[in-house]
Subunit: 447 residues, 2 copies
């Protein structure tokens, strides 16, 4: 059913409301959460109160922060406490991070001590760490337990765990010694012990590891979940694949933004204010604008040549654009290749040798076509044609070289390679190509 | 243990080889597969033969195509048949797609009929469709089965299924009527029936749906797997989250490449030949180069103005670069926002109004700083300063407008918005900004 039909039912008589209530039980929590988007305050509260109790927390975890806040402010302490108790810790943390201070204070006062401790623990991990994306609802087993006992245990507590498809085997001091998949449990002999069937060479991360490392391991090993341990190998949480997919998209968005000279923002575009958007852009624009004035200085130095041959100016945009495009093609491939772990610094010579040949081929092709075009359209001026085409060839080769070396050097220097993308490469190549162009012109025309 | 230690053991005496064999059983298939990278032919074959039989197919599925081919060519038909039989259909298809025709013919002759039929079925789906990334190893259940019977069934056949965490409930004619999670099974009453506990409002796709739609649904509903049905709602396969993560990364790579004027390539950079790299770049470079000559034509039209005031030329690079950067900032945010489903065409007016204000703020800031810089550094030439700064303001506002309208219009016209990124936007803004700049100069300097 569509949102419109739902709202119609909602504002109808009580008979209809009973119908609505029973319909929610048939729906997916994600779809119910979508109804709240761009819906007015009163309706948001009304719909939320109509949800079956067993679904309320689940739906709540998918609702946008703005509407979550409306709901929290409308509910009684008791109702909020109930929701908070049923929310997984990672969802509770995500929500708290978006709330204003007053709401956070109320929330932390309302939640039970144990949950508050867990929330505070996760909140204290740095933003991009494994600890910040983990949750603490997982199934623990002991080595001595039998498969039957393990099943019994999961049947009792599993309903409140984020995943039951991997159980974590710990010693009494919380040392993580193995993992057991639900598949392993289901296929094992009922009288076998957990210690016997558990996998001891499992993949794990530390709380302070970067979340990009986490994403890389999930992709490499095709994981559904992963344990997070502290420095003494004690189990403190797990990360599930749904959160990792979100991390991957966020990291990609960050790269797209950095590569376009934008300060990364975590807010969706439509929810970002004009001032914030401006702030994320203007410093980079300013830096690049001032850098480009250096290129202007190059031109000023060749003023007498341009005065003698004003037609030279007409080819500047084409040279600058082609250099920028050639450079950003290369830098994009290299930055992406490094982000995916396909290219590393030790491949520098290999990459550069490749780009040199690609640059020569592209440069020769473009140069030739350009030569013919200028020769035919500019009164068969051979010297002009050769000046522009030779400059173009050198520009493309330079652009490809700079486009591969700068991002790889950045990586080596532990600077994010995504910074060394089109905008900076273009600015550098522009200046260099104009020096080449105007020098060749001076030499060939004997100015 | 490192690859070096392994190779040392491998080339040692037979006692060591027994040790190696037992060590493989302790290792993760993904890690074993990594040993094959950049390893010589004989060693590849030697290692593969040493693998425990139960792991060979699993390891094989993670090996790079080049080494897969070496192994297939070295193995007997019987050994290959054994591997092919144990490979999941989606992994078999991935491999076959990378092999030369002669190898494919041999493989399809060797595999059992049933498997060949499944492989051929998946091979026939279009490259970017849901059908092309699905696999056919899933658990089927009937509505009438009890929970106990379902468990028994999974215990018997589960070992050969890609996932047992979701079972698919079908009617005798293969009509898909529901899904049951392993969690649901484990938490249910043993005597209950599948028909009673199954979920009937599940998420599914059709074989011909685009794989981007699949990725979007996995992200939206936090799925681990998803059924694929044909036009009559008959179950034909499932898609698992590990394959979807790969799709997400591939789609992102494609966007990065398109946004940098590159034809998308599926090969990793280091494995792509110089000729293929050149082919993926040169047509775009050529198209953009020829487009940029239009900008050159603009300049030629203003030749007399530039002859009177040659200093005007020095500001062209700064204007062009700033316009390009301002435009690509906007187009990147819009393209990414649309890819993530955060922005759609009906937001056009909202987005444009936002960008207009951001453009004015950025343009005013940059214009002001530029005004002061030129005024102080160019002999307090007020008219020159105002000419450049006013052009800059107009350029930035134009660039932001073009940067949001073009990608959104492309989306509306069912063209991939990623094409409307920095390279094209820059070329368009360049021409427009030079017309503005030189027109203002003519007017203010009364040339």
């Amino acid at each position: 059913m569509t949102k419109e039909e739902l709202l119609e039912l909602l504002h109808g008589n009580s008979n209809r409301i009973a119908k609505l209530h029973s319909m929610f039980t048939q729906m997916n929590a994600v779809d119910i959460a979508e109804i709240f988007v761009d819906t007015d305050r009163d309706t948001v509260i009304q719909i939320f109160r109509l949800l079956p109790k067993s679904m309320a927390a689940d739906v709540f975890s998918y609702i946008d922060p703005d509407e979550q806040q409306i709901i929290i402010e409308a509910l009684t302490d008791r109702e909020v406490s109930d929701i908070m108790n049923k929310l997984f810790v990672d969802d509770a943390v995500d929500m708290i991070e978006e709330m204003p201070a007053a709401v956070v204070n109320r929330l932390l006062q309302i939640v039970p001590d144990e949950k508050r401790k867990q929330i505070n623990q996760i909140l204290q991990y740095p933003d991009d760490s494994a600890g910040s994306i983990m949750t603490t609802e997982y199934v623990e087993l002991r080595e001595s337990a039998s498969i039957i006992e393990a099943f019994e245990h999961i049947r009792t507590i599993g309903i409140n765990k984020e995943t039951i498809y991997t159980s974590y085997v710990i010693k009494p001091n919380r040392l993580l010694v193995g993992i057991v998949s639900a598949k392993g449990l289901m296929l094992a002999e009922p009288r076998d012990t957990i210690g016997h069937i558990m996998k001891t060479n499992f993949v794990f991360v530390h709380t302070t590891d970067d979340r990009e490392i986490v994403a890389g391991l999930f992709k490499k090993y095709n994981l559904l979940s992963m344990p997070v341990v502290d420095r003494e190998q004690h189990l403190v949480g797990i990360i599930t694949v749904d959160d990792v997919m979100q991390v991957i998209e966020e990291e990609n968005t960050e790269d797209f933004e950095k590569m376009a000279a934008l300060n990364p923002s975590e807010e969706p575009y439509l929810k970002t204010s004009v001032l914030a958007l401006t702030r994320n852009r203007i410093l980079w624009l300013l830096f690049l604008m001032l850098s480009a004035t250096i290129t202007g200085g190059v031109i000023a130095n060749f003023e007498e040549a341009l005065a003698v041959l004003p037609m030279l100016v007409a080819f500047i945009p084409m040279l600058m654009d082609t250099g920028g495009n050639a450079g950003s093609q290369t830098s994009t491939l290299i930055i992406r290749g490094m982000a995916l772990g396909e290219i590393s610094f030790r491949d520098l010579a290999l990459v550069w040798w490749k780009e040199l040949r690609v640059g020569l081929l592209c440069g020769l092709g473009l140069g030739l076509i350009n030569y013919l075009r200028i020769y035919l359209m500019n009164g068969k001026n051979g010297i002009l044609s050769i000046t522009v085409s030779l400059s173009l060839l050198i520009t493309v080769v330079m652009a490809k070289t700079i486009g591969c070396i700068l991002p790889m050097a950045a990586k080596k220097l532990k600077v994010d390679p995504a910074i060394m993308a089109a905008p900076i490469i273009t600015t550098i190549v522009d200046g260099a190509s104009l020096v080449v162009y105007l020098s060749i012109a001076k030499a060939l025309f004997r100015i």
